[in-house]
């Protein structure tokens, strides 16, 4: 729990109002951050991580299966590409509002939207990665007696990893960004303190939440770069 600060009236949800909490002049009221880290900021941050992880996880599973199918059956490429592109053109804030009558003000509403927006880049990049594998390499692997499934698992997917990784990076930062906007409809994640702060014009709340969202995006992106390097050691050796 946040420490109680003596003096001043108690404003609901804003704790004991003293100094910069009342002034609202400072860019950064550390006292407010201190008071509301555990009840506002930290839960929002954790929710945001989960929203993003679930969306990219589900999106990746769907996109990966679709890309494998499209890699095997070429005729699937145009319809899947067109559908994912169509989903991507729907403005997110409108999509979330249209989904509310169907799925309610729930996490499901956010996730349906977020998953939909990840599909284009994840499908596109996974397919591009699989297609970029040189035919000679596949030929050689087949010649060594690998079955079709083994070629896919041991040759094609590993060689597609850089493109897949690039897609996941874009999907993650895009999802982090969209998830902030989603809070306008569904009060989860870092968008909630941003919109709450904007609504009552309390600087510190939306500035700090904005900084946390930026920090989260940068850290997530950085971690993905490291993960990608660890998963594709041969690229470093060549460079």
């Amino acid at each position: 729990m946040s420490p109680v600060i003596a003096g001043g009236p108690v404003i609901p949800n804003y704790g004991k109002a003293t100094g910069c909490i009342v002034d609202n002049n400072s860019f950064f009221c550390t006292k407010w951050i201190h008071q509301h880290w555990s009840d506002t900021l930290q839960p929002a941050l954790v929710q945001h991580v989960w929203l993003t992880a679930i969306a990219v996880g589900i999106g990746f599973a769907i996109a990966f299966i679709c890309a494998l199918a499209a890699h095997r059956f070429n005729w699937l490429v145009p319809p899947i590409s067109a559908f994912t592109a169509f989903l991507y053109t729907i403005p997110s804030i409108a999509l979330f509002q249209v989904l509310v009558p169907i799925t309610g003000i729930t996490i499901t509403t956010i996730e349906i939207g977020l998953v939909g927006y990840t599909l284009l880049v994840l499908f596109g990049n996974t397919l591009a990665g699989l297609r970029s594998v040189p035919p000679d390499v596949i030929e050689a692997a087949r010649g060594m007696g690998l079955t079709r499934l083994q070629v896919l698992r041991r040759v094609e997917i590993p060689l597609a990893l850089p493109a897949i990784g690039a897609g996941v990076r874009i999907a993650v930062v895009t999802t982090i960004s969209l998830a902030t906007v989603a809070a306008y409809i569904t009060p989860y994640g870092l968008g909630k303190p941003i919109f709450d702060g904007l609504q009552i014009n309390y600087h510190t709340e939306y500035v700090v939440a904005g900084l946390l969202a930026i920090g989260l995006a940068l850290i997530a992106d950085g971690l993905l770069v490291l993960a990608q390097r660890a998963l594709t050691p041969w690229r470093r050796a060549r460079a």
């Binding site: 249209v98 169907i102 284009l120 990049n125 990076r169 904007l198 939306y206 930026i214 995006a217």
Partner: protein, 248 residues
């Protein structure tokens, strides 16, 4: 929050919503038209600023084959920033209005233009540049007559993608001061679900229009001899996206 009151109604969604959406656009056409124009103006200013900043820098870095770290990693870094978060950290300094939105849109668009211009110019076949130098062209002539024309398709791909993102994201202006179709999309209490669907369709349409506008401009500016050669060049590790549209 500016005008939009944050009320989300559990409204009915059915076939009528979509018919009403078209009705809304038609019946309130002067208001909606004004919002479309504001949306376009906001987007155009942002894309113009992003281009003025990023294009010369990218082209120059590509020309001297330096600074790949800035052009690629720096861009990735900027591109990771959530637009709403960028708006919120600049808001106390700049106040409500178009300024913060333009900043967020430039942060969104400029990296795409920078990376693509850099990769485009940097990737021009060194033999071609060598041949041009052998023919006695100066560095300036090489840049203007050889590298830029060859790099044009990829440069335009960057501007086009940026424009589509910017048009889609300009909706966020509805949160801080207004002046875009976001005024409608962020205000369900006034315009109902049908108004939101109508405005959303217009945003999508504008994003497509921006895409085709820059595709056309690219065609007009590409020297005839290069039109087919340019189409075959890919963009490494970039999503092979057909309609790099919306989001936000």
């Amino acid at each position: 929050m500016a005008e939009g009151t944050r009320v989300i109604l559990a409204a009915q969604l059915n076939g009528h919503t979509f018919i009403d959406a078209f009705k809304f656009i038609w019946e309130d056409r002067s208001f909606v038209g004004q919002k479309v124009l504001e949306h376009l103006a906001l987007s155009a200013v942002s894309v113009a600023i992003a281009t003025v900043i990023a294009l010369p820098l990218g082209v120059w870095l590509g020309h001297v084959h330096r600074g790949s770290f800035i052009a690629i990693n720096g861009s990735n870094l900027l591109r990771a920033l959530p637009s709403l978060a960028v708006i919120s950290i600049f808001l106390p300094a700049l106040g409500i209005g178009h300024g913060v939105v333009v900043i967020a849109l430039v942060v969104l668009g400029a990296p795409l233009i920078l990376t693509n211009s850099y990769v485009a110019v940097d990737g021009v076949d060194p033999d071609v540049v060598e041949a041009a130098r052998g023919m006695g062209l100066t560095a300036r002539q090489i840049l203007l007559r050889v590298e830029l024309p060859l790099a044009l398709p990829l440069i335009f791909a960057g501007i086009r993608t940026a424009a589509v993102y910017v048009v889609a994201t300009a909706t966020l202006a509805g949160v801080v001061g207004g002046g875009s179709l976001g005024d409608i999309i962020f205000n369900q209490a006034t315009y109902f679900l049908s108004g939101i669907v109508g405005a959303a369709m217009l945003v999508s349409a504008l994003a497509f229009a921006a895409y085709f506008f820059f595709a056309l401009l690219e065609r007009l500016l590409t020297p005839r001899g290069l039109r087919h050669a340019g189409a075959e060049r890919g963009h490494e590790e970039e999503a092979p996206v057909v309609f790099e549209a919306a989001a936000t």
